[in-house]
């Protein structure tokens, strides 16, 4: 990675965020029929990120200690446990599985 690559990557990321904010955001706010997408997009996209971080290794699927950690997190989220409890329990469960 060079300084030029950092600049190009940063420009692309900045552009997408600004485009989303100024173009996509205004379209959603003016179209009542599409308004619910404002809450549905994070549900879909963030869950996809969770899946990717839990079970992917590059472009392959890999079931390892992270899955146990996330199962613990899932149960705690379901039981409405505090945020910090979910995060710490997931890390501890994952670390313990790796110790075994």
């Amino acid at each position: 990675m060079s300084w030029a690559v950092v600049a190009v990557l940063a420009a692309g990321v900045w552009a997408q965020r600004l485009l989303g904010m100024f173009v996509g955001g205004r379209v959603l706010s003016r179209q009542p029929a599409l308004g619910r997408l404002a809450t549905l997009i994070p549900a879909a996209v963030v869950m996809a990120v969770v899946v990717q971080l839990t079970i992917a290794s590059g472009t392959s699927l890999e079931v390892d200690a992270r899955v146990i950690g996330m199962a613990v997190a899932g149960v705690l989220v379901w039981r409405r446990s505090p945020f910090v409890v979910v995060v710490v329990a997931a890390a501890v469960a994952t670390a313990l599985v790796r110790l075994l």
């Binding site: 690559v5 190009v8 990321v13 997408l37 404002a38 996209v45 869950m47 899946v51 945020f83 979910v86």
Partner: protein
């Protein structure tokens, strides 16, 4: 932005609105720790590949997307060209554009404020913010979460770059599970609605199916279909 507020209210029921209380100080502290862990683990990896402390720090701050850095390095490690690696980095960052769309629909602020918020669109701060009913609360929750994230991220960069060799393998401590667990907790309230659960199930399922067959970043973009399916198949006046 009254329209946007009423649209969110459209998801409410006779049993009460679905707007949730903003994150408390304990939640913000945990978010800060989450981004600290992320900052340490990512920047230890990046420094290992890049070899320059200054470039690692500038990349982390300027690109402002750990997944973009990791995607670029993964393609280069696999023998890909500079162009292919840059495109992969941009594609995986597309989710921030999508999150900025959501935030943009709920923000009632001036142009420069919108630009600043757009550039700081991440999963936790946007997801927490858009669950607020009042426009003023959207702004307040967004910037509080953003501050907590950056405090953790920036200190994580410093520790990862300058003390990374002391820490060793961060995965030993389960730190790689911290970020996905935090994200799951943050969308927890959205998952309690039928529409949110459907969006997440379809989006997450599509991502799972596409990971082995699609280039990096595409599974995340495809997850947008989950939101569209949920929009088309669930009524606005749904119950949880």
């Amino acid at each position: 932005m009254v329209l946007a507020d009423s649209m969110l209210m459209g998801e409410t029921t006779a049993t009460g609105d679905h707007s949730v209380a903003g994150p408390g100080w304990g939640d913000l502290g945990a978010l800060c720790l989450t981004f600290f862990a992320l900052g340490v683990t990512v920047n230890v990896l990046v420094l290992d590949r890049v070899g320059s402390e200054s470039l690692t720090i500038v990349a982390a701050v300027a690109i402002n997307s750990a997944t973009t850095e990791l995607a670029y390095l993964a393609v280069r490690d696999a023998g890909g060209t500079q162009l292919a690696a840059v495109i992969a980095g941009w594609v995986v960052a597309s989710r921030f554009g999508l999150l900025a769309v959501s935030l943009g629909a709920r923000l009632d602020v001036g142009r420069w404020h919108r630009a600043a918020a757009g550039l700081q669109s991440f999963d936790p701060n946007v997801t927490w913010a858009i669950q607020q009913r009042r426009a003023a609360d959207v702004v307040r929750v967004f910037w509080r979460a953003t501050a907590a994230m950056h405090l953790g991220w920036l200190s994580g960069i410093a520790v990862g770059v300058f003390l990374g060799n002391v820490i060793g393998d961060a995965e030993r401590f389960g730190l790689d599970a911290v970020f996905p667990a935090a994200l799951l907790a943050i969308i927890g309230n959205l998952l309690r609605r039928r529409s949110g659960a459907l969006a997440a199930a379809v989006g997450g399922g599509l991502c799972l199916l596409l990971i082995p067959v699609a280039p990096a970043g595409i599974p995340i973009i495809a997850s947008l279909a989950g939101a569209i399916v949920a929009l088309a198949t669930t009524p606005p006046e749904e119950t949880t």
